[in-house]
């Protein structure tokens, strides 16, 4: 039976892991390769590395990091941040990444998804969406949650799927960093609308939040950062907890 996935996310700036709380005020949380290996040993099912460096030199550092992750870690990993064209993807895949994620660039230029899927296959192309609940609508944001696009979550997620996205990584900006649980209603709606896997992100603060996201939220995978980086919830204990509660996880 297909297992529900637990995915630690590592934000990387200038070769180091950071995690924002509501996208500002970064705190340092260690070496990305060492942290990735530790998570793999603890039972993480995949890793996500997001490059939040803007400079050209930082970019080269990130590609080197991707290569070191591929050399040292034996589970799949996705990389994202700063991917604006199909050629950017090739560099990262050649460095050993299994999947890439696109976010703002895909909203600005949706053809990017078609381009990546046609050249490397749908499974490579994770489309990340940051959205905020406004009134009774989920609205998509770009540029690290700073700029509203006015696009509606479900409509954009569906378009991304039709264009060739292999997975949707949905981050609720209302829930991110607040540690009160995932956006389960919106996640369940995405699940029922789409035919590709959904990765839930934003809001993990307690063991029960993961149980809820897999049952109420119907998510295929759950992603979190700070609670893992600061060992507030050890991944092996989280998986034991989920297993005891009849969620199918890889142990």
């Amino acid at each position: 039976m297909l297992a529900k996935r637990i995915i630690p996310c590592l934000d990387v700036k200038d070769g180091k892991t950071v995690k924002g709380v509501n996208f500002v005020n970064f705190r340092d949380a260690g070496d990305p390769v060492e942290l990735g290996k530790k998570y793999s040993d603890d039972g993480a099912d995949e890793l996500v590395y997001l490059d939040i460096t803007a400079s050209h030199e930082g970019r080269k550092t990130f590609v080197d990091l991707v290569r070191r992750v591929a050399e040292n870690v034996s589970i799949p990993f996705t990389v994202g941040g700063g991917i604006n064209q199909v050629d950017d993807v090739e560099v990262l895949l050649n460095a050993g990444a299994d999947k890439i994620s696109v976010n703002s660039a895909a909203l600005r230029n949706p053809d990017l998804i078609d381009g990546i899927a046609n050249r490397f296959g749908n499974q490579v192309c994770v489309t990340a969406i940051d959205a905020r609940m406004e009134g009774d609508e989920w609205v998509c944001y770009i540029n690290g949650g700073r700029v509203s696009t006015g696009r509606k979550l479900i409509e954009w997620a569906h378009e991304a799927q039709e264009r060739g996205a292999g997975e949707i990584l949905f981050t609720s900006m209302n829930h991110d960093g607040v540690k009160t649980g995932f956006a389960n209603e919106a996640l369940a709606m995405l699940h029922d609308t789409l035919s590709i896997p959904i990765i839930a992100s934003g809001g993990a603060g307690d063991y029960s939040h993961f149980y809820d996201v897999f049952t109420q939220g119907k998510a295929d995978a759950a992603l979190a950062a700070s609670i893992f980086h600061f060992n507030e919830i050890p991944i092996n204990e989280l998986k034991q907890y989920l297993c005891r509660n009849n969620i199918n996880v890889r142990i």
Partner: protein, 196 residues
């Protein structure tokens, strides 16, 4: 030991190379027929699309090279699919080593997402290169097409239908999952192939 990883347009060669290196083996990544034919073990990896991959193999004469190999050959993911007779992906004739038709998953309800992506368990049905003690263990999959159960099937996985997780016929071995991405379990399977 000389290990050749076949280089073509649907490769995740570097990941396979890294996994072998973690096991203490160096491999060469090559599309040179002579290098492939003289290797002790050949790995035919892949992430990609069947039709364009087959066209590339034919253009480079690698289709015949692969079919005529006598040493152990391991196909991975699309590598396994290309070793079958025909694929629905792009409606293309493949290498025909395994007598099977590659089919697309047909989702029956919204709980069955396609691609089949993530960790699923293997059920070993025949002795082969996958150690028996790995029965029931999780391995990593990413695919939208599958090889139905056939007489070469040595392990199955269930997703929508039970299908071929691994195949074996003569000197040809194949896995639909990615041993190079399946943690310790995957590394044990790769090691077992290398030590055949």
């Amino acid at each position: 030991m000389k290990i050749a990883i076949i280089k073509y347009n649907a490769g995740n060669n570097f990941s396979v190379e890294c996994a072998l290196r973690r096991l203490g083996y160096e491999a060469i990544v090559t599309d040179d027929p002579n290098e492939i034919e003289t290797a002790d073990k050949v790995i035919f990896p892949g992430v990609g699309e069947a039709r364009s991959a087959m066209r590339y193999l034919q253009q480079h004469g690698l289709d015949k090279v692969i079919c005529n190999l006598r040493q152990p050959v391991l196909g991975i993911c699309i590598g396994q699919q290309l070793m079958c007779k025909h694929s629905q992906e792009g409606d293309v004739d493949c290498l025909g080593i395994f007598d099977a038709e590659v089919k697309r998953f047909d989702a029956v309800d919204s709980d069955m997402k396609i691609p089949h992506m993530g960790w699923n368990t293997i059920n070993i049905i025949k002795g082969g290169f996958i150690p028996k003690e790995l029965n029931g263990k999780y391995v990593y999959y990413v695919h939208s097409y599958y090889v139905p159960v056939n007489e070469a099937t040595i392990a199955t996985t269930e997703y929508i239908v039970p299908y071929s997780a691994a195949l074996h016929k003569d000197n040809f071995y194949a896995t639909q999952f990615h041993p190079e991405k399946s943690g310790d379990i995957g590394e044990q399977i790769l090691k077992s192939f290398i030590e055949l």
